[in-house]
Amino acid sequence: MSDSVFLDSIQPLFQDINARFTGQSDFSPQAAWDELVQSGFLRLLLPESAEGAGLDIAQALPVLMSAGYWALPLPYVETTLLYAALPAALVDAPADTIEGNLALAVGTCGPGGPAQPLRQGLHWLRALVTAKDGGIAVVPVSGDVEQGWRSQGEVKPLSQELDIHLLGTAAECLQLAGAMQRVLELTVDYANTRQQFGRPIGKYQALQQQISVMTGHCHSAVMAAQLLAAGMVQADSGLRLDTPRIASACGVIKAACQPVVATAHAVHGAIGVTEEYTLHHYTRRLLAGRIAGGSESCWFEQVGRACLEQDGRVFDFTLAALS
């Protein structure tokens, strides 16, 4: 099967969950999550021997970005990537355990205290993978999006090593890139539809030039997502994360969020700030995602340090470590 076959088969479910979520009526996060579990797509990145689809991250990228495109309020991408990263710890857990129920995200928490997923606005969650005692651990959580999440139950340390903060930020950024694709499409459609002074507003050069700049940001983000995917290499033991490559791609994606939001709203006029129109779901997602796990400056600083630590040219560093 080619990558687009996977996308085509899951996209209707993503779209349906999006419609229920943005329609505000009878959205059940648990029901939506169960549908995702049943789809089998949480095992997208696992080998066929583990009942997975056996895709690598680059092949799975259209599906992962599509979760952002449809503003999925569930930790689908997070869980899928954590599954791929920590197969020994998470795969094949009995269904009545926390791991078996999945719905994992990266975050921080103290015992019995508030649990803070890296990603904001999650409507469903069963456990966080967090840094603990120099290693990582799975912490069961309960709560909801309104009240917030609290850790509850037994913390399970994992023997595997993983930079979960990097993984969590990467998961977020892949979705942000997908969200920006949707926002650009909404904006172009609106510019071609809305009429003022007797013409579609997209015919005015001032808006054309702004949308052209926005297109550049969105294309950069989509390319950065592909570089990000190339920085996650699958091995038998899980995912090997290539820090500078992922950090630089995350920085570029995060840096695009604010200007994309600004132009989308400028073009939409007042309708864009209504509850009814879908843009605000993406605005919230992009603005929160930009700062989740650290803003672009935080990630660019890491890249700058990595560049200064070696002694070749910036150009050579870019070719070898970021491209």
Partner: protein
């Protein structure tokens, strides 16, 4: 909508050229001073171009029957990015290699191709582009230079402006009116091959704000051109110029123009230490460079597949020239952040030069606003 970009890595055959180009550059080293290397594709050095031609690296994608290298667009990409990253002086053969040779290959007569292309590929024959005029910049269809047919060929009158290297090269490919009236716009224009040694041609260099003279004013006073000066068909000039626009490949030349400055600054940071602000700026620029280069390679992949990605190339060019302009802007701010200048003489000279020339990045070859108009068309807005 413009199709979303697809990442493309370099084929190993092209990647293998990298070490060969580096060895060549070690044998023909570009200037040591960063402010000289910063001039790279403005740096005219015929001996360097000839050495490159002998190595087979001018006209690398042209067919071997015309002296070309028969290589891929990816081969060309690697060679160009290595030359530009090193700040090699590529200006002499640049326009012929990038624009004139592909134009002649596509529209030229067989004798034009046989006579001119092998000498271009040898790095010996240099070209300039005669499009802009005093009254015709972005609005190229308003050119008023005229070539009137007569029994010996074409009689050329008028003038061209901003013609890069006209004073140092052999031929101009000029866009001129060959039929109809001024005001007929796209109708009645043709491209003509002008031997710049002919009588009646006056070339006056124009000094730029950095003190360099790379572009010129060119006057034609009853210049008699032969019949076979015509390139392609009479009246097809507009279509040909539009096709020439497709040779805008948004390659490394739209990304690397300010690299000498960035490298010079990074060297200084390694010597004198970097704080978080320096690291952030360096990291941002390196990250944008990586993404841009991948976008640019995705255009090369489309060219290699025989497509003509004019609008995606305009998008990448807009992003690339913005990046090239942001480098001197951001570095001026970083270097002088602590009050006063904090840079070596070489760094400050490179900064001064790059800052002054950076505004041209988004003018040459079509302005930013015109490019954004193309992008808007690609997005279905016009």
């Amino acid at each position: 909508m413009i199709p979303w970009p697809q990442r493309q890595t370099l084929p190993t055959s092209a990647e293998a050229l990298r070490s060969e180009v580096r060895a060549f550059l070690a044998a023909h080293p570009p200037a040591a001073a960063a402010d000289v290397r910063a001039r790279s594709w403005m740096g005219f050095d015929a001996a360097f171009s000839q050495a490159l031609g002998q190595r087979g690296w001018v006209g690398i994608t042209l067919p071997t029957q015309y002296g070309g290298g028969g290589g891929s667009a990816f081969d060309r990409y690697v060679i160009l990015e290595e030359l530009l990253a090193a700040g090699a002086p590529v200006s002499a053969h640049w326009i012929a290699d990038r624009q004139s040779a592909p134009l002649l290959l596509r529209f030229g007569s067989d004798s034009q191709r046989r006579e001119l292309l092998p000498r271009i590929c040898a790095g010996e024959l240099y070209f300039c582009i005669g499009m802009s005029e005093p009254g015709a910049g972005s609005d190229l269809a308003s050119v008023s230079t005229r070539a009137v047919p007569n029994d010996q060929g074409w009689l050329l009158n008028g003038s061209k402006l901003w013609t890069t290297n006209a004073d140092r090269c052999h031929y101009m490919i000029a866009l001129a009116r060959t039929s109809g009236q001024h005001g007929d716009r796209q109708q009645g224009l043709s491209q003509l091959l002008v031997d710049l040694s002919l009588p009646g041609i006056t070339i006056r260099p124009i000094r730029d704000l950095a003190g360099d003279a790379h572009f010129n004013e060119v006057f034609f006073d009853n210049v008699q051109l032969p019949h076979d000066a015509l390139i392609g068909a009479e009246g097809d000039g507009w279509q040909q110029v539009t096709a020439e626009l497709a040779f805008e490949r948004s390659g490394p030349e739209r990304i690397l123009s300010s690299m000498a400055l960035l490298e010079c600054w990074c060297d200084q940071l390694r010597r004198s230490g970097a704080d978080a602000g320096d690291q952030r700026t360096l990291g941002e620029l390196a990250s944008r460079l990586a993404v841009l280069r991948s976008l640019s390679l995705s255009i090369t992949a489309q060219l290699e597949q025989g497509q003509s990605p004019v609008i995606p190339a305009a998008l990448v060019k807009d992003l690339g020239t913005t990046f090239e302009q942001d480098i001197p802007d951001r570095l001026a701010d970083q270097i002088a952040r602590r009050g006063g200048e904090h840079g070596s003489g070489e760094l400050m000279r490179t900064l001064a030069y790059t800052s002054m020339i950076a505004p041209t990045y988004s003018l040459r070859g079509g302005t930013r606003e015109i490019l954004r108009g193309l992008i808007a068309r690609g997005m279905g807005l016009r």
